[in-house]
Symmetry: C2
Subunit: 361 residues, 2 copies
Amino acid sequence: MEPAISTTLITPVILSGGSGTRLWPLSRSRKPKQLLALTGEHTMLQMTAARCIDRARFGPGIIVTNALHAQEIAVQLTEDRPAAIILEPAGRNTAPAIAIAALESAPGAPLLVMPSDHVIEDCPAFIAAIERAMPLVEAGWLVTFGIAPDKPETGYGYIRRGGEVAPGVHKVDAFIEKPDLERAQAYLADGNYSWNGGIFLFRADAYIAALERFEPDMLAAVRASLEGAAREGAMIIPAAEAFLSSKSESIDYAVMERAEQVAVVPVEMGWSDVGSWDALHMLGKPDAAANVIQGDVVAIDTRGCLIRSEGPVVTAAGVEDLIIVATRDAVMILPRGSSQDVKKIVEALKARGHPTLDIPF
Amino acid sequence: MEPAISTTLITPVILSGGSGTRLWPLSRSRKPKQLLALTGEHTMLQMTAARCIDRARFGPGIIVTNALHAQEIAVQLTEDRPAAIILEPAGRNTAPAIAIAALESAPGAPLLVMPSDHVIEDCPAFIAAIERAMPLVEAGWLVTFGIAPDKPETGYGYIRRGGEVAPGVHKVDAFIEKPDLERAQAYLADGNYSWNGGIFLFRADAYIAALERFEPDMLAAVRASLEGAAREGAMIIPAAEAFLSSKSESIDYAVMERAEQVAVVPVEMGWSDVGSWDALHMLGKPDAAANVIQGDVVAIDTRGCLIRSEGPVVTAAGVEDLIIVATRDAVMILPRGSSQDVKKIVEALKARGHPTLDIPF
């Protein structure tokens, strides 16, 4: 018999593996996006943890992260201590990461798997969607949350809804890879598609059973890595060789697209993956001249800009539609709408072996 | 009898009183333009002193400056020690500043008065112009150098040439205040006008005699300030109360526009007062994309920009015709052609009491 608590309290599983550079010069390999306070006083990780603060519904969380960030995570979550911080020896994508969390949980525990670096502005809508999903989750379904699309985005995967299997919950008809613009426009017009936001809810044992069926070698590798794990306080360090013998695969490919009892809960909750400086401009509070400004900034006759300083005073006069970000050691200027060009800058800095990519500002 | 040396060796008099903010964030009240290496390895002051390096023609110089900058000046000129560094208790414009230098010089010494923060790219042309002027200077004329205008600049005073009084030297017909654009265009088309670049050559006694006639109170005040001066090594600190009792007046108003034996030597010598970031863009060596870049900079798909860093790495992608300047504590972004808007930024920073105006970066 499982302890009763495991079937009523949901375990948040926060995936903090990213070390993206799309928000350079703020995000660095040693201080990635989820560890930054991008949209307010709290970091993305802290805000993710805070969504599950209701102790009548959620138990302590499990964080899966890169060893580089363990110390910072422990500091950021001192007021909301996780049950476990699992330090991946190296990233193997989401399927093995979630497998560790599932194996460390009570079998019947519902796991709410969340990326650590997304914004959800309407948290009550998210919680309500979780409640709609719970009866199916307890019955062993694998549930994903479908974000209501508001533009024909080509950077996300889509989920096509099938018939309703519970109030507000649909069987997944298909997971669809990132589409081209034409197909994305058709999905948006159709109304029967959601974005795949990478948020999942299922019982630990349901996930393990699916892995056992579709990816037994992966499950064996993760099990072996936990048998040889080092443990210190809440920190768990899986044995490196065993863990690295797992293939690198997303939960979508490994499980969700192949299992049968897979449901989607469509939800409008002010979601954003904060994937670019342009996204941050959209999320920010614009002033009368449509500027989103943070830090020590002087903007004169300036319109439609995102200007952010983490150190030097940043001054601008007579400019329009620019993204300007400054730290103590780096400054970046791009036209608004071109924030994907951060990649080009990061590549150029890599080619020079420039230290600002690694060192936290 | 004057010592023979004073009539053959010219004394450079370098006016280093400016503390402009037109090149903020590089120029600061404690580190003004003349003390910065803006166009190459050497500072504007060092390059000004270096123009008079020929010891067969020039004696040691006299620097007139603000006490704030004395130490830095002494350091910058260690290899080219001036005869005197005169520390003005407060700025009283150029006429009293030059009067101190004149009173500290042998009466017959020709004084070459120069701002410390101008560029002269063709130094041989400048020296040749000085040689053309010398016979008249020795005869007691006050000589100014007329910069060949290459655009209808409304920010400078103009000089209208009269008849030739020596080969390549003309009597001044009139000094003309900063004109409006229409008149500036007419002057440029006329061909008989030069810009007044604020460079002068005259015997010390000729200048003193002119002051005695036109501004006797000023001369008396400066004389009194020198009688009560403190002296330490090459440093001369005129008595403050006496010096401050002088009116504040330019040499143009006080002397040049009123004296009779005033000549102009027209000269084309690649002159610039480096009065703005736009001027620095014009002076710099552009790359294939018309960018002028200095310091740790990554510029991708970027055209026609001035990008300068004195500290952080400055990165840009997909921008055009911007001026981007960064120091450790400040960043400034303006459209090229709008560099006069630095004033607006500096005013806004003053209103905030922002420290970056004063502290050298």
